[in-house]
Subunit: 137 residues, 2 copies
DNA sequence: GTAATAAATGCACTTCCATTGCATTGCCCT
DNA sequence: AGGGCAATGCAATGGAAGTGCATTTATTAC
C-alpha cells in the first residue's frame, strides 16, 4: 500500500495536511461524498479550501465528480490507472433513492453507443437510480 | 396533427394561454430548453409560472426533465406514448460541449445493465457529451 | 346571471450550493 | 533568513430551485 502523501505527489498534488485528510476520508468511504459531507467530517474545515482541494484533485485525476441527479455534486476517488475522460474508462454510478447514497460501480463500464452521423462522443455519464444492496436486503 | 389544446386536455392539463405557448415553443424546438431559455422566449413571462407549468407538464408526462450535467435543468417534450419512468422507455441525451445544446436521441435506448446482487434499478439517466452534428459539420 | 369554489398566475422572498476576491498564512527553494 | 509562490480562510456574490401569499381567471353550483 503506497502512502497517501507519496501517492498525491505522484499525481502532482502537494500533500498538505488538509489534502491528506480529505484523500484518506474519501479512500475510507465506499460511497461518493458531497462537499458538505466532507465539511462535516472535519470540525475545523473551511468550505472553500475543501472546494478548491477537490477541484485540484479533479484536475490531477485523483477524484472524479459525479452528478447523480440529486442536484448536489459528489466526489469519489478515481481507480488506479483510470483515465476518467476517456469513454472506455467510464464506469457508471448507482444512486439509491432510499438512502440517498451514490456508489461507483467500477466493474460495470458504460456500453458503447452507436450515434447518428455527425455526433462525436467524448464523454459519458450514466446514473442508475433505484434501491441499493444495503437497502434492499 | 392533433391541436395543442386537445392534446394537453388528453394529458389532463388545462390548456391555458401560457401553457399552450410553452407547449408549442417546446414542440417547435429540437433541443431541450432551460427555464431561462423559455423565459427569454416570451417577453411577458413570469419565472414562477413557467416553473410551475413545467412541473405540471412533467407530472402529466407532457415533458421530461433532463439533467445533462451543465448544472441547469432542461426540458423537452415526451414522445408520443412514452412512459418516461420505465427503464425500457428511457432514451439518452446528447450534450454538445461546443454549442451547449442538449438533444434527445429518442431512437437510442439505454442498454440494459446487469447489476450486482441486491441492486434494483428503477430509472436511468445517460448523457453523452461531445460534439453534435451541427458543430462537427 | 351570480355566487361560491377551485385553479392558475405574478410578485417577493428564501434557500442552497457553487464559485470568486482578497488578504493572510505556510511551505519550499536559494 | 528571505523571496516567492501555493494554499488557506473569511466574506461576499451569483445562479437556479423552490415557497408563501395575494390576485386574477376560469369552472361549477345555484
Amino acid at each position: 500500500m503506497i502512502p497517501s502523501d507519496k501517492f498525491l505527489e505522484s499525481k502532482g498534488v502537494r500533500p498538505t495536511a488538509m489534502r491528506l485528510l480529505v484523500f484518506q476520508h474519501l479512500a475510507k468511504s465506499k460511497v461518493a461524498k458531497t462537499l458538505s459531507d466532507i465539511e462535516n467530517a472535519f470540525a475545523k474545515a473551511d468550505r472553500t479550501t475543501l472546494f478548491r482541494t477537490l477541484k485540484t484533485f479533479e484536475q490531477k485525476r485523483v477524484v472524479h465528480q459525479i452528478d447523480d441527479g440529486s442536484g448536489i455534486m459528489k466526489y469519489a476517488l478515481c481507480e488506479e490507472g483510470c483515465n476518467c475522460e476517456l469513454e472506455r474508462d467510464l464506469h457508471l454510478h448507482f444512486h439509491c433513492t432510499n438512502c440517498g447514497e451514490t456508489i461507483c460501480l467500477t466493474e460495470q463500464k458504460i456500453p458503447h453507443i452507436n450515434l447518428p452521423d455527425g455526433f462525436v462522443a467524448e464523454n459519458a455519464n450514466l446514473v442508475l437510480k433505484g434501491i441499493c444492496d444495503k437497502c434492499s436486503g
